[in-house]
Symmetry: C2
Subunit: 355 residues, 2 copies
Amino acid sequence: MIGILVNDRVKAGKQAINELYNVGYYGRPKGDTLELTLIEAAYLHYKKKLEIQIEDRSLSFEDFFTEASKRQQYFDLKYIVYKDLRERGYYVQPSVTDFRVYPRGGHPGKTPAKFFVHVISERIPLSLRELRMSLEAAHNVHKTMVLAIVDEESDITFYEIRKVDPRGDVKLIGEAVQGIYGRSTFLEDRVVVWDSDISSSLHAEGFYGHPLDADRLQLSLVESGYLLKKGVLEVADMSGTSFALAFDEFAAKASVIESEFMLKYFAYEDLRDRGLVPKTGFKFGSHFRVYLNFKSVDKLPHSEYLVHSISEDYEFTLPVMSRAVRLANSVRKRMIYAVYDNVQCTYIDIGRIKM
Amino acid sequence: MIGILVNDRVKAGKQAINELYNVGYYGRPKGDTLELTLIEAAYLHYKKKLEIQIEDRSLSFEDFFTEASKRQQYFDLKYIVYKDLRERGYYVQPSVTDFRVYPRGGHPGKTPAKFFVHVISERIPLSLRELRMSLEAAHNVHKTMVLAIVDEESDITFYEIRKVDPRGDVKLIGEAVQGIYGRSTFLEDRVVVWDSDISSSLHAEGFYGHPLDADRLQLSLVESGYLLKKGVLEVADMSGTSFALAFDEFAAKASVIESEFMLKYFAYEDLRDRGLVPKTGFKFGSHFRVYLNFKSVDKLPHSEYLVHSISEDYEFTLPVMSRAVRLANSVRKRMIYAVYDNVQCTYIDIGRIKM
């Protein structure tokens, strides 16, 4: 079988439609011609099913591979992923997001494609904007969005990207203790609740803070901000004025200590309002670990999510994302990114997927 | 027992030396006076062993704690760590790096201190320079350096910091194949070796690269740079000129693709020269995973280290460091930072320690 390299396509004759398309769903038939992408052609060359010519000269695999790398950006990356998927029995077709992949046992004409696969090098930063656009495109046609990240040694890791809508059933502490103003002081970079009763109620019923001792509770900035906003807590300045801080004053002070305070706060408030219990995720390098089924501090359940709050213009650095997902999975949690777009929080779940 | 608050000390009388120092090693006796730090005094106040006065007025715990927070930076953080260590049976004394801590069963006058503990908030970036100075200070007096990181919810994680000198016994591939020049091409962001024999020898004997297929090998940039520098490989430009790249030309091209190329390369070369086998650590979010006892690709051992290459002016972001160490430990590896100071690489091992 002979194909002719023309720009970024390899074109073969009618016989190719029978032997390549009808059997393996390679290329796209256009009349009596089979049009193959450079990637499909390279794979067929490697499989010795296709000879590729340019100006009547036959190209070796090395020559064609080098030539294709000049004609298509990230050719080698995409080839690696294409070959991997084909060799594991998937039918793969080109698409707007690199590849449409059919489910196991399925193929073009029999079943719809299941995955939209987007190939990316670990070196290229991935903007959240781009990720969300790809996610929307895939969702609109009921496909699963998959990122195939190729590392510097050409190993591939597949990630499934999903929108999620986490909900829990933990009641607002406000409903339990509303109207009981706890007295607290904003110290250097955390808040201490001095009253013994409210300290233990906040900790036991809402899993807020960390006991300083049996009588006093330390709260993080997001926790104190939330309880202040919900009217559960009064927060005094360390300067000792009797004036309690308003939420805006508190937020301004907190933002000086932690420049990302508001970014974290929006996700914290949204998670709490959804009936979930977020606690610091410091040990996991994320903003929060999140409990779905908190009942009491004594019977603390496994926390299900790690949540990291990011802004709309966030750029993923892929080794960092990879580490976050890997760590979350190694402790049996889902890695979720919370995005606040000035109106609401949306949640994007990124997890490894075996293809 | 009464102590008087004077600047950043609380001073108590002779009786205190008997009851507080001789029994619990609190404070430092100076003549007939016992001088306590604010942290020691707050702890003794909490334990109801000390009443603290200022101008004949007795301070409540809340008042003293707030007052001490004004007089000493990070007072609350340091108090949390001090209390934690004391309550778990350690004798703790102030030192240049916050605390000197005695080994279990030991105390001042009986045994030397074992740990230098440095307390830091997760929010404060930690410069490598500062870390190395503390490490030197601890090593010079044969102490173990410990970082106590306090997160926003006042949980403490202890890290032991050590200098390490990793060595392996994997022979230089150069010795095996020296003089056999493999031919390869620098494609978009990786290098492909076209020759079948050298491809399999590089992969099987040195665990270089990742097979593109049975005949061809893909190498990462650091791998290709190393093999080029050692005279094992010739690397041609994709433009197809017959000129092989010199190492400097190669490094310049690679640095355009990956701005950190030289930073990674120095560590890669040093690790290889030490008889270790570094491979990409992408899936772990680090530059390299490192094999100590590589024998063959078929019997691949567990990789022992994750190595991340950092420059001398690096600043640790503690949640990021925490994630790196946590992930390394969760896959039974040590987290090691490689620092290249223009002459040599030194290695710093950061691991969690249970105190």
